[in-house]
């Protein structure tokens, strides 16, 4: 039931020199199991977020495979692929990107529940439960994304992901917009959710102390290669 990267590579066309490509990373292999956290470090621009997006299926690898439950995601049929995309969620660095600016938070939440077929009458209780687990009051549901602070929207973004009941979450700098106390709360919350629901995390951060607190295994992207601690 794992999520794994098998000899992944990702390169981008270099916009300015025709034909040239910039390799972000290559030959990168990594496995995350349910209930486990893999901590990913590396300097700004090292390719951590790119790896997160590729593993979650948001962009294709240039080479190599992403496997979910042992199946190559590139070979999945439509319904398998949908299940993969729903089961592997990403929480981005910039929480405001998670919400449609024209809709209230409550509307965005309800849309997610509509999508997965939660009946309208049951939605209120589901949302109330999620808000409680991310530590926010229901009053925020009536607001628009520009009317909430960075930290509030990060918690709301986590809540929105939890509505989907994912098996894996790629957490890309999930606490860099938060004050240290709320950061500590969110880290504890993530750990709790993990032990309750067995979610696996790919936890991306610059902050070594945070990564060490969260992860059982830690790797670092250096010059396009993943160096996993304790593995030669």
């Amino acid at each position: 039931m794992s999520l794994s990267a098998d000899r992944l590579a990702r390169a981008y066309r270099n916009g300015f020199l025709p034909g040239s490509r910039r390799t972000v990373f290559r030959d990168l292999s990594l496995t995350i199991r349910p209930g486990e956290t893999f901590g990913l470090m590396g300097n700004s621009g090292a390719g951590k977020s790119t790896l997160g997006r590729v593993i979650a299926g948001l962009e294709p690898p240039t080479a190599g495979r992403v496997c979910f439950h042992g199946r190559d995601t590139a070979l999945m049929n439509r319904s398998e692929y949908r299940a993969f995309r729903r089961s592997v969620q990403v929480m981005f660095q910039d929480p405001s990107a998670a919400f449609n600016p024209k809709k209230t938070i409550g509307t965005s939440y309800m849309e997610v529940l509509d999508l997965i077929g939660t009946p309208r009458p049951a939605q209120k209780a589901v949302i109330a439960g999620i808000l409680e687990s991310v530590g926010l009051s229901g009053e925020l549901l009536g607001r628009y994304p520009h009317q909430i602070s960075g930290g509030q929207s990060q918690r709301l973004a986590l809540g929105r992901i939890l509505l989907l009941d994912p098996e894996y979450i790629v957490l890309d700098e999930p606490t860099s917009a938060l004050d240290v106390s709320v950061q500590a709360q969110i880290l504890h919350l993530l750990k709790e959710l993990q032990s309750e629901r067995g979610i696996g995390y790919l936890f991306i951060s610059h902050d070594e102390a945070v990564v060490r607190f969260m992860a059982s295994r830690v790797g670092r992207i250096e010059d396009g290669r993943l160096v996993i601690e304790g593995e030669a």
Binding site: F16, S44, S137, S149, G150, G151, D179, Q183, A184, H188
Partner: protein
């Protein structure tokens, strides 16, 4: 010496379906060459203060109090007068450089742009000033940097370019809102150096909004801690980090990794209906009955710091 910025009883309320009391009677002042760090819980009103000073609040914001910048009350000025000031004499550096910089223009053009917008010089003059500024920042020779597009340099480098673009007209006041967010430790140091350089001449004042207490500790002169729309502690850097006084300040420092990530339990009160007494009371370990009944003022303690707490007196 007169302060560059003096904020007096600033309150900001957003009037929507429900009135959100985002900032409540905040006062502080900031002198030339000084760095004041504004820290506190997410959602406590730091960015709203920054936007109020810059005149960037949306229409539904009701603002009261006084914001005196170099002797002029900004709230009494017309929008035209304020926009003439914005980017020239007071500047703001937003957190996300990848969004604040325009991807299709070269860095040099973007750094030089304020000179042209404010009619402060010709195209050549603007270009010359941009080059000189990069040189002063230690980015030499400037010819290596001016032709770059934002996607060709790292997030940290772009943040420095953004600081350059915001400060090319030599503003007296710079507000930096989370300028080091999302940067790796090496890049954080570069941005810190930049901010220190900016205030080094003794003329420019910096209001630094940050969650990174290590950055505040390294470069700020004074620390203002906000909680639920109010300043709850205002102290000199050393005094604050060595002996935080307000229970919220202490809780905040306890949440740091070196103390084991121990969060303050609970969450902050709703800004729609803040409690009548101390706003931190429900989460406070030292809280007594009196704390919930009456609202504490921000008062000077023996060592000169200001604290808003019934139990710290």
């Amino acid at each position: 010496m007169n302060p560059v910025l003096e904020i007096d009883a600033l309150s900001v309320t957003f009037c929507g379906k429900q009135a959100v009391h985002a900032v409540d009677r905040v006062s502080f002042s900031l002198g030339g060459g000084e760095i004041l760090a504004l820290v506190g819980e997410t959602g406590c009103g730091k960015s709203v203060i920054a936007h109020a000073v810059m005149g960037l609040l949306p229409g539904e914001a009701q603002v009261s109090g006084r914001i005196v910048f170099k002797g002029r009350d900004l709230l009494a000025l017309s929008e035209r007068e304020r926009s003439a000031m914005r980017g020239k004499d007071c500047a703001i550096v937003f957190q996300d450089p990848s969004r604040a910089l325009n991807p299709v223009h070269r860095i040099g053009r973007q750094i030089a742009e304020p000179v042209l917008i404010h009619g402060a010089g010709s195209r050549e003059e603007a270009h010359r000033r941009a080059a000189a500024l990069l040189e002063r920042m230690g980015l030499s020779p400037p010819g290596n940097y001016l032709p770059l597009y934002p996607c060709q340099s790292s997030g940290g480098m772009n943040q420095r370019f953004l600081i350059a673009a915001s400060t090319i007209l030599d503003p007296s006041l710079v507000i930096a809102d989370e300028p080091t967010k999302g940067l790796d430790p090496g890049r954080v140091r570069e941005v810190e150096d930049e901010l220190v350089r900016l205030t080094g001449g003794g003329r420019t004042a910096l209001l630094l909004i940050t969650h990174d207490l290590a950055v505040a500790r390294r470069i700020a002169d004074r620390i203002a801690v906000m909680y639920a729309g109010e300043i709850v502690e205002l102290a000199e850097n050393d005094a604050f980090f060595d002996r935080p006084s307000h229970p919220y300040s202490r809780g905040l420092l306890q949440s740091l990794p070196e103390h084991g990530f121990v969060p303050i339990p609970g969450s902050s009160p709703s800004p729609v209906s803040p409690p009548p007494g101390c706003r931190f009371q429900a989460r406070c370990r030292d809280g007594k009955a009196v704390c919930g009944g009456q609202h504490p003022d921000l008062v000077s303690a023996a060592d000169g710091r200001m604290v808003r707490c019934w139990q710290c007196r």
